[in-house]
Symmetry: C2
Amino acid sequence: MTETFHALETSAAMDATRALDTPCLLLDGDKLERNCDRMRERLLSHGVALRPHVKTAKCVEVAVTALRAPAGPITVSTLREAEYFADHGFKDILYAVGMVADKVPRAAQLVKRGIDLGVIVDSVDAARGLVAAAERAGVRLPALIEIDSDGHRAGVTPDDPRLLEIASALGPSLKGVMTHAGESYNCTTVGAIEVMAQHEREAVVNAAKALRAHSHEAPVVSVGSTPTATFARSFEGVTEVRTGVYVFQDLVMAGLGVCSVNDIALSVLATVIGHQREKNWLITDAGWMALSRDRGTARQKVDQGYGLVCDAAGRPLEPLIVADANQEHGIVARRDRGPIDFARFPIGARLRVLPNHACATAAQFPEYQVLREGCALEAWERFSGW
Amino acid sequence: MTETFHALETSAAMDATRALDTPCLLLDGDKLERNCDRMRERLLSHGVALRPHVKTAKCVEVAVTALRAPAGPITVSTLREAEYFADHGFKDILYAVGMVADKVPRAAQLVKRGIDLGVIVDSVDAARGLVAAAERAGVRLPALIEIDSDGHRAGVTPDDPRLLEIASALGPSLKGVMTHAGESYNCTTVGAIEVMAQHEREAVVNAAKALRAHSHEAPVVSVGSTPTATFARSFEGVTEVRTGVYVFQDLVMAGLGVCSVNDIALSVLATVIGHQREKNWLITDAGWMALSRDRGTARQKVDQGYGLVCDAAGRPLEPLIVADANQEHGIVARRDRGPIDFARFPIGARLRVLPNHACATAAQFPEYQVLREGCALEAWERFSGW
């Protein structure tokens, strides 16, 4: 098998990133904008609202890019995200992880600041606990009932008699229904994602119908996952779409056919720190602490190890992958374990690694180094914690 | 199979942690001290110095506990760690990841502040780059040559002719040799770890002999990994031991026989947020963002999923494990997928999860909530980044 590496060429991107310490997190601002525009325009053409999930980026500038507005409706996965975005002017926030009474006092602080904070529940116990705790805190927390559309995680099925019991327990706090087609990450064809999108939509639309048939109001019908949002043929009856990873895309999404490798906006800049010539390994300073332990492509047709290796300008060096990782060491090898031309990758050379899972890799860093037309322009803060 | 769960009892620990928001990172200060004392006393009895690896905890208080002194020799995995600990009074620091010329200016700043900073190299190119860059920066960076004792990652073998070439390239910067028996994590018996410890020791002792036979000084002979440090029968010829994860211990170490599950000082406090009764799942608010994506026990005899579940007081609820994880959702199930007594784990109940890999799980949090005799006493800062 002959080597297909591109030559390592000097470029604006290499110059721009040369001054950065490695490992660091690069964000291609042009690709980010294209990914955001594509999804926003697609949903606009379907007449359905976008409520981006900010858990992927945890960054105000990325949310602003997704919305093409200084603020707008967002989805969060932690109360810390809700607080951070509220501090930055976002007022319409859905906390899309099951709410429990213990968390209500903290959520109530946001409501008292004028934030329109929605929550979700999927059991009568949680609904009763929520309503009682909100009453004690002197607020009302509008709630969606989480619907299970794919057996993936949480929620009640649309035909479960508990649906109506939860609605009754919520009373005037009931605002609608939501689901997340997490199983779409395990699809192997675009056709299968289309089918899953149909199930996702039908599950919430049917649940809303069941509620309305029993005199419950359910104005919000919310769905969301990047694969189903990308390939759904219809959003009929759906009022909003929550989607997160599309802003960056990643190797798992590329493996699903949701994007191409060239759409991936996020990468980790690394330095070659060693050669293991007998083993045909390059050693880099980007281990799992930088790349994360996510091995999401392990179950896909093409296993990308801990990430696909690119040159400093971001061009994939297929078949080089991060074959293994220690805490601060990446082990780069050819996918076929064949010989590496070490002269092309001297000690000190810079490489970029495309991530398996953008949410996990980005979480390892406190900021994004944003490139525009290949030139590093600015650092965007990313927060963490709960 | 009958259930073996302990009853959930009220205890000081449950009361102390009740006020904490979940997920958060708990550190049992008593277990931490016992783990630290055991290793320090063992190495003291062997007459070999301890240079704890602070990459596991990235926390000054933990390093102080390990050393039983306000400062002392430490090992770091990033220059950020070196800078942070230097800011907190630590002066003897080994940066144990292959050094490259680009990182020398930042390291030189530490040397100019009076820090005794050692570095490592494993190639002639890296050695030459290091010496030239240090000269340009106006400092000398003492260097150890990294020895490959197990084919795990980096280094040169003791009989590789490059060993002497690297020594010549380093010249007066040469300070000795070091190795890390990372393959010890893949052993399946204590006997195998003992053999690996012997190989680890012999590799560096032989490398030092080879250097000394050619008139190179090699005063430092450094080894390290928690399994080999725990079970080595001899440290003859070794001057220092670097070891990290022993301070916390974890499920991977317990699986290796290095510690018992009861020695594990670190856990993630979680709240039950949902019941999936048909699937026999509890849903918690500690997903992979809190637990990390590390699946280190997947290759061991007992696969602990994303962690072993305990009650709020830290008592294992065998056979409950975190069977799967999404970003902010943990899916708790019995190891045998058998029925769960949901009444014992109502919505809002607190659980603790013991981690597969303490280094990875701790890295997901900005601080430790430290318990003494079961009572939460204080928060210890943990830093991150590079």
